[in-house]
């Protein structure tokens, strides 16, 4: 299912624990490193880099492929995709084969074939969103930065 609402994204993040990040970079100025580092230090997620050129990032073991990740750790809850749009279908096929429950295409990773493949295979799909920004929308991080979270409640909510 393609998740298009704030509530659906929140629910996905709430129930997910393991994230395999395809295209994670160790370069501290790359967006994928910002996202990796944020998810790692928040503590809520077990995040693993998928990158055949790296052994680890900040002490977190990297896996050369989704298949290698799954062989050791089982199916990931979310596959987070930091690759060029044209590479998205192959990543999606790998994610389906790995038994991932959801696939998250980061900003600009828009490929209709990949979206259709994932949706048809029964994965939850998030497109053109940042998993760091959406996590921060719900955990108070965005609000601390003066950003418009779009969230509105008169209930006391503990993050």
């Amino acid at each position: 299912m393609i998740l298009e609402t704030v509530a659906q994204r929140r629910e996905l993040l709430d129930r997910s624990h393991t994230v395999a990040m395809v295209g994670a970079s160790a370069n501290p100025n790359r967006p994928s490193y910002f996202v990796f580092s944020y998810l790692r230090t928040r503590g809520k997620f077990e995040i693993s880099p998928i990158n055949p050129t790296l052994g680890e990032i900040d002490g977190v073991k990297a896996y050369p492929s989704l298949a290698a990740y799954t062989a050791e750790r089982g199916a990931p809850d979310i596959v987070d995709v930091f690759r060029r749009p044209e590479e998205a279908p192959q990543v999606t096929r790998d994610a389906i084969a790995a038994g991932a429950k959801a696939i998250w295409f980061q900003y600009g990773v828009i490929n209709q074939e990949a979206i259709r493949l994932a949706d048809d295979a029964g994965l939850d799909v998030v497109v053109d969103r940042c998993i760091k920004v959406e996590s921060a929308r719900f955990d108070g991080g965005l609000a601390i930065g003066g950003m418009n979270t779009g969230l509105l409640t008169a209930k006391r909510r503990l993050h």
Binding site: T5, V6, A7, R10, P28, N29, R30, P31, Y33, F34, S37, Y38, T41, R42, Y107, C130, V133, A136, G140, G141, L142, A143, I144, G145, G146, M147, N148, T149, G150, L151, L152, T153, A154, K155, R156, R157, L158, H159
Partner: protein, 438 residues
């Protein structure tokens, strides 16, 4: 959690200000703390590297200030906001976030005098040049844009002339050239106009005015749409490695958040024009009742303008809300709920009549501000511009007979009663009027 799109009044009360998670406090807590403890050295490092969110130091951000920022961003329909010490600070930080020495701006010629000075003197001295053009002359605006133009700057409602900007047309011209449209929305407030809905990229405010609403605190704000392509190459300050932040490329690392991130962590950090949490707290109170106050401001302004139009002592009334205003069509499009509550009129007796008018008023406060709940009046020719001759005034676009009103929330009959007293005093020093009576 639901998917409802809440209305303006609901967002004015609730956006950015949920109950406090720590205490359950329903009102916004006032965090008068300069600094915030880190959880660990690792978290501190992540904070300074901008890889996680959190409070560090109130010059850069503060939880009470953030609540004001989110509420205003919600009301303007923006991605986020940055609060500043004043409206002038909001403008300076906006410009310095996109422009540097050797760059160029295009701005409306009908801007608040303080803004004209900021651009034409202070920014000029810093090597940022501004071309001022009549905002209604779209051809001139287009012609003024250069390869090194970094922003186009206008006011929704010009101060003090009351002209209304054709925001959609200006946005189209700016975007054709790869330039963002920055709109000062101080006189309209997001209740009367939301420039982002019409194509503006950045909205700036002097929150000191109608947002605060009571003439109590200074404050400013920058709101951004989140849709301008900062990384397209036209704004190297955002799309090339920054020496101010260990080689960070803001557009690459933060995408749609690039402008607001740089404005906060580099420009606000270095300029230091931060708002006090106390002021932000008061501005939140102001925003909560903005939608209740603005219709009354407009209603009173309309009553006062209609009264003035009928008077012999009054030569002209310049208020875009009036049916015969040249800006009426633009006001109907961009300000359907009213063209604000600040406008000017001219006394037939010129400078002398202006002086007599002001001195005879009892209820209207004679001061240099607008947007108070109390009605305000100023006669530039006898105060802020008193050293200039009539000819010099006209050359600067300030007419000797011009009086500016900021219409407050008093009973309109009382406001008109007082204006009648002022007009009688003006008539007494206007030869053509006093002779006609004699």
């Amino acid at each position: 959690m639901n998917e409802r799109t809440f209305g303006f009044r609901t967002r004015a009360l609730h956006a950015g200000t949920p109950p406090d998670t720590e205490t359950g406090a329903r009102a916004l807590p006032l965090h008068l703390s300069t600094a915030f403890v880190f959880d660990s050295t690792e978290q501190a490092a992540e904070l300074f590297a901008l890889r996680t969110y959190g409070n560090i130091y109130t010059r850069i951000g503060n939880p009470t200030v953030a609540a004001f920022e989110e509420k205003l961003a919600s009301l303007e329909g923006g991605l986020g906001a940055l609060a500043t010490a004043s409206g002038l600070a909001a403008q300076l930080i906006t410009i310095l976030s996109v422009a540097q020495q050797g760059d160029h701006l295009v701005a409306s010629a009908n801007l608040y005098g303080g803004t004209v000075t900021q651009f034409s003197v202070t920014l000029q001295r810093m090597g940022i040049e501004t071309t001022f053009v009549a905002p209604g002359d779209l051809g001139a605006v287009r012609a003024a844009l250069r390869d090194n133009t970094r922003a186009l700057f206008v006011e929704t409602i010009g101060n003090p002339n009351g002209n209304v900007a054709d925001i959609a047309a200006l946005a189209a011209i700016a975007h054709e050239a790869g330039v963002p449209l920055v709109v000062d929305n101080t006189f309209a407030t997001p209740y009367l106009c939301r420039p982002i809905e019409h194509g503006a990229d950045v909205v700036v405010h002097s929150a000191t005015k109608f947002i605060g609403g009571h003439g109590t605190v200074m404050g400013g704000a920058i709101v951004e749409s989140g849709t301008f392509p900062w990384g397209a190459g036209r704004h190297p300050l955002l799309s090339t490695p920054s020496p101010g932040y260990h080689g960070l490329n803001f557009a690459e690392s933060f995408g749609e958040y690039a402008f607001l991130q740089r404005a906060r962590v580099e420009v606000l950090r270095d300029v230091g024009a931060s708002i006090s949490p106390m002021n932000a707290w008061l501005l939140v109170q102001g925003l909560e009742t903005l939608a209740a106050r603005m219709p009354l401001h407009v209603e009173n302004a309309r009553a006062v303008a209609a009264f003035l139009q009928e008077r012999d002592e009054v030569a002209w009334v310049s208020y875009a809300d009036l049916p015969d205003s040249p800006d009426r069509a633009l006001a109907e499009r961009y300000l359907p709920l009213g063209a604000g509550a600040v406008f000017t009129f001219g006394l037939r007796g010129g400078r002398e009549a202006g002086r007599a008018f002001i001195d005879a008023l009892e209820l209207w406060s004679h001061l240099a501000n607008v947007g108070d709940a109390k009605s305000l009046v100023i006669h530039p020719a006898s105060t802020t511009h008193q050293q200039l001759t009539d000819e010099q005034l006209r050359a600067g676009g300030v007419l000797p007979e011009m009086v500016r009103l900021s219409v407050g929330l008093e009973d309109p009959d009382d406001l008109i009663w007082d204006l009648q007293r002022g007009l009688a005093a003006a008539a007494a020093v206007t030869p053509e009027l006093s002779e006609a009576k004699g």
